[in-house]
């Protein structure tokens, strides 16, 4: 028997000319029966209404006489989404449905973008539905008497869960859910996820390992056809693989933009989005006003305008980063162009899914390689899509820094009792193995500062009150903490404003430090001239003429998923045997021929090592094809092993195909190979030793410092107020290494390195594979097509076993030789 609520919603769908899909009905039924679960549905499939409607069905059923009149009900539905962009679209759609159904609920948004006045209104009167981000939920938990907001909470929907899973924002979500469950044990929790390889685990992570009520995974039976087309150069002329291919292909995407009503052009970095936008405008000034740029550093109003215009169909093309990544059912575009490898099938398909309107129709995505070898990735991507192989998103386990931040959050608002919170935290997937010892250490850190009282004399953060309540009483500390809630590590940022005061966005301090007054740079799609810097704000005006610098964000590099590397190797094999059908591999034949000529085109059973000399020194390249993350660990291990035999200093670079060791002196690679360089013997010890010498932990520590509150950046433009409390994470690292090497956050850094870069299991597997291959050693005159992309990378690690003083003396000697 159909319930009243069900009937009313059905009728409404019919009145809109919509069909209720079977998967939607299944979600509605399970939801209203009280189950928790995970909906696996692609973008544009109707996933939003799948999880929205059952809330209304419940409402109608619970108040059949008053569902149209009962208002001011407090917060009932929390909708968590990773991105603030397009939250407006969701809000609009949900609010519209409520209006049409005469349900007097309000839908609000609460993200970093939302103004203080709106937030204050919400604090007084919460809307029934709140669309928010994981960080913003934590900011709410930092509010005095936060419990009052959640008294009536019925359900939490976590949208795009695959995106949060595997990041510290996912941890924040898990933690927030544990607290909300503590307040409302009976609330429903549902996630929405794109297809990934580990959906069952994804649900366990979201709901906790011991899901109390039944839970279920529902798969949308939508087949999304995706057609991936590579944009190819006409001629692979001389040395096409030298440097960047990307912009040279700009003329080829112009007709694509022209022929399409709206196009999203995804780039992998902010710098790339600025560069492409700039060049697009230069090539086609007639497009000015109908093309826009969108990325995370732009001012909220700028982004708002782009999002609204996109929705209203005013814009022909938007160049963006993952800032516009996440799919909504309500703002599809016609065409999607991806610049540079998205590094993973899931992300590629998701972006492809942004295009096209009706479910069932084909989504088309164009791929523009930024360097020649990326064409192989394009072929691999297409293979992966066709075989529907999706990579997994592995959850992060037990990160102390996020837990530290959370506990201080609770201490800042109402205070917490440790035993209660410990029990809640233990029920999350991430912290299920948290020991009492670890918990004690964390409590000690936030109350005492560290292990010994004498070391942390005068430390004030969290106090313990007489009844055992852990509470922050210092108002400055509270304020600073509230401002820094979040898990995304950033550099010190400066605000950029026009002289009139109109804000454009934020940019890294170190970029501006390179500029003088009068210099021009490109930002927010505009050519700007630096007028002056005052009060941590950069004042600019529009500049004429050719512009110069684009802020080159030295951001992290993505890595190919292990799934993709496997497919990549398959494609490389096809390249070797010549038995390929992909148009991309055909195009690359001239490049493969050069590689063959100067070196070899390695097959499955071969491990290629290339050695060459340049003015920079001696270069050794190795090509395991295991993806960037494995190469990070392997290169450190190998560099370390060599450095134990002779004093030598390395600069190390890597990509998904291989890595480079560069030194100012000859690298005795042949001797090292004879001496167990790539063996699995002593692997554990060597891994431990490599971590320190390659300084991998230091880099991880930077993020940990920010999340745990040791390093505080503050809001852009406000850093000056807190300059007296700033110290680099590098210094903290050195201090702890010297005075407290078992510091829990230091431990976390080392653990992360062991898990992500120097994972023993994975490294062992990779080394064993090499041991089964024939090592092919080539001394090359020049950098080969394989080597070149690695060699030019500026993002480098270093490792040295030489004494600094000796390195300097060497420099002096070299200088004397030349004078």
């Amino acid at each position: 028997m159909e319930s009243t609520g069900q009937r009313i919603i059905n009728d409404w769908f019919i009145s809109k000319g919509w069909q209720v899909f079977p998967f939607q009905q299944k979600v509605w039924t399970n939801f209203t029966e009280g189950k928790n679960g995970l909906l696996n549905a692609p973008t544009g499939s109707g996933k939003t209404f799948a999880l929205w409607m059952p809330n209304l069905i419940k409402w109608i059923n619970e108040h059949p006489e008053e569902y149209k009149t009962k208002s001011n009900n407090g917060l009932k539905v929390l909708w968590i989404t990773p991105l603030r962009a397009l939250a407006k679209d969701i809000q609009k759609a949900l609010q519209q449905s409520l209006n049409e159904l005469d349900i007097p609920w309000e839908v609000g948004r609460r993200t970093g973008d939302v103004s203080q006045s709106v937030k204050q209104k919400q604090n007084k009167k919460m809307p029934e539905v709140l669309i928010t981000t994981p960080e913003s939920v934590h900011v709410l938990l930092a509010q005095k008497n936060y419990r009052r907001h959640f008294k009536n909470l019925n359900s939490v929907i976590v949208d795009e869960w695959h995106e949060l899973l595997g990041s510290k924002r996912g941890i924040q979500t898990e933690i927030a859910l544990s607290r909300l469950r503590g307040i409302q044990p009976d609330m429903s929790v549902w996630g929405i996820s794109a297809t990934i390889g580990n959906l069952n685990e994804a649900m366990a992570v979201l709901l906790g390992p011991e899901m109390k009520t039944d839970s279920i995974i529902i798969k949308a039976d939508i087949q999304k056809n995706i057609k991936a087309v590579s944009v190819l150069p006409d001629e692979m002329e001389n040395f096409p693989w030298h440097g960047h291919l990307g912009l040279k292909l700009l003329p080829k995407i112009l007709p694509i933009i022209d022929d399409s009503r709206s196009t999203l052009i995804f780039t992998n970095t902010r710098a790339q989005s600025e560069i492409w936008f700039q060049n697009l405008l230069e090539a086609r000034p007639d497009l000015a006003g109908t093309i826009a740029i969108h990325h995370g550093s732009l001012d909220r109003k700028v982004r708002d305008w782009v999002e609204t215009s996109l929705h209203e169909g005013i814009l022909k093309a938007v160049v963006c980063t993952s800032s516009l990544d996440l799919g909504v059912d309500f703002s599809p575009v016609e065409t999607v162009i991806q610049i540079g490898s998205p590094k993973g099938v899931a992300r590629f398909m998701q972006r492809a899914g942004r295009s096209g309107h009706q479910p069932g129709s084909t989504s088309q995505i164009y791929f523009v390689p930024t360097h020649a070898l990326e064409l192989v990735e394009a072929a691999a991507l297409r293979s992966a899509i066709n075989s529907e192989e999706m990579e997994s998103r592995d959850p992060i386990l037990k990160p102390y820094d996020v837990l530290v931040q959370y506990l201080v959050t609770l201490a800042v608002s109402d205070g917490f009792y440790p035993d209660l919170i410990f029990n809640e935290i233990k029920q999350t997937f991430a912290y299920q193995t948290l020991t009492r010892k670890e918990w004690k250490a964390i409590l000690q850190f936030i109350t005492v500062g560290g292990k010994s009282l004498s070391q942390y004399n005068e430390y004030t953060k969290v106090d313990i009150e007489d009844d055992g309540l852990y509470k922050v009483n210092d108002r400055k500390i509270s304020r600073r903490h509230r401002m820094s809630i979040g898990t995304i590590a950033s550099d010190a940022m400066l605000r950029i404003k026009y002289m009139s005061g109109k804000p454009l966005g934020v940019v890294e301090e170190w970029f501006i430090a390179q500029l003088n007054n009068g210099d021009t740079f490109w930002f927010a799609g505009r050519n700007l001239e630096l007028i002056k810097i005052k009060d941590m704000t950069v004042y600019v005006k529009r500049a004429r003429g050719k512009s110069s610098k684009v802020p080159a964000y030295l951001g992290g590099r993505m890595s190919l998923s292990s799934n993709m590397t496997r497919i990549l190797r398959k494609k490389m094999h096809e390249a070797v045997t010549g038995e390929h059908t992909d148009v991309e591999l055909k195009k690359l034949e001239p490049l493969f021929n050069i590689q063959k000529q100067w070196s070899i085109l390695p097959d499955h059973d071969q491990f290629l090592i290339e050695k060459s000399f340049s003015r920079e020194g001696c270069h050794v390249f190795m090509f395991p094809f295991e993806g960037r993350y494995v190469h990070e660990g392997m290169s450190a291990l190998i560099a370390h092993r060599i450095s134990q035999k002779i004093p030598i200093t390395f600069s190390i670079a890597m990509n998904d195909y291989g890595f480079e060791l560069l030194s100012d002196q000859d690298i005795p690679i042949r001797e090292a190979l004879d001496d167990d360089l790539v063996s699995t013997q002593n692997l554990e010890d060597d891994i431990m030793a490599s971590i320190n010498s390659a300084e991998l932990a230091k880099r991880r520590f930077r993020e940990i410092c920010q999340i745990s509150g040791l390093v505080f950046q503050g809001f852009p433009g406000q850093a000056k107020r807190n300059k007296h409390l700033q110290m680099s994470s590098s210094l903290f690292f050195d201090v702890f290494m010297e005075y407290e090497p078992d510091h829990l956050l230091l431990q976390q850094a080392f653990d992360e390195v062991m898990t992500y870069q120097l994972d023993e299991v994975r490294l062992r597997k990779a080394l064993m594979k090499i041991s089964e291959q024939t090592i092919v050693f080539k001394e090359t005159e020049r950098f080969t097509p394989y080597a070149f992309p690695i060699m030019v990378d500026r993002l480098r690690e270093k490792l040295s076993s030489e004494k600094l003083i000796d390195r300097i003396r060497k420099m002096q000697q070299q200088l004397e030789k030349h004078t």
């Binding site: 942390y456 953060k461 920079e616 509150g709 505080f712 903290f732 010297e738 003083i805 300097i808 002096q812």
Partner: protein, 223 residues
């Protein structure tokens, strides 16, 4: 030998100056030790504001200062500002205690921007507080940019926490704190640990002495 092995002696305006690898300078003629930017109490300052920096940082600063003082037995110590990082905290007591244990040494502080503690408090500790100090051909002060006087004097200052970056072959670089001797100024490295550094960009004819692993080495030709 009184000075550590890695020390480097230079001559400037006929004065023998010993650049110590401990990151302080010794002026032979006047048996004077010149130290800059200790930032005592910085770790305590952080702790008071909820950032957990261990006290060992400060303790080790006091200890290094003491070891150096006992070895060189100067008659006078000039602190070039930023002796104490912030408002009074417990770490100030350990400095007072140290000062008293060397009651026979003349100690002068050229006030720096971080020396928020009132002069009165410093003077109670037995430190003479001045804005600048002229001795021989040198003018000692905290920050060279404060120098409004003529440039015929050589100023000796700190505040910057100078470091130098040396680029070598093989896309490597070496960072190191340094002494930076420009045309009219001697810039001392920061003595305190946990102070951070700032890269200087030397010009032609400037002299740069890097402090590398307990040695002071002339790297002027390499920058």
């Amino acid at each position: 030998m009184m000075y550590s092995e890695g020390s480097l002696e230079i001559s400037l305006l006929d004065q023998q100056l010993v650049l110590l690898p401990e990151k302080a300078m010794y002026w032979k003629k006047f048996k004077t030790l010149v130290i800059s930017d200790l930032h005592f109490g910085k770790s305590g300052h952080f702790r008071k504001h909820g950032i957990a920096v261990p006290e060992s940082v400060n303790a080790s600063n006091i200890q290094r200062l003491d070891v150096l003082t006992r070895r060189l037995t100067p008659e006078k110590i000039i602190f070039l500002g930023d002796l104490f990082h912030s408002q009074y905290n417990a770490e100030f007591e350990s400095f007072k205690h140290w000062r008293r244990s060397h009651a026979g040494i003349d100690m002068v502080l050229t006030i720096g921007n971080h020396d928020i503690i009132s002069r009165h408090e410093f003077q109670k500790t037995g430190l003479e507080c001045v804005n600048t100090l002229r001795m021989g051909p040198f003018l000692f002060m905290h920050d060279e940019s404060d120098d409004q006087l003529n440039t015929r004097t050589i100023t000796v200052s700190g505040h910057i926490h100078p470091a130098i970056k040396l680029k070598t072959k093989g896309r490597q670089s070496i960072y190191s704190p340094c002494y930076y001797i420009g045309g009219t100024n001697i810039l001392l490295p920061a003595f305190g640990t946990f102070t951070g550094t700032f890269l200087v960009e030397p010009k032609q004819n400037d002299r740069v002495f890097a402090v590398v692993e307990e040695k002071v080495i002339n790297v002027s030709t390499l920058v």
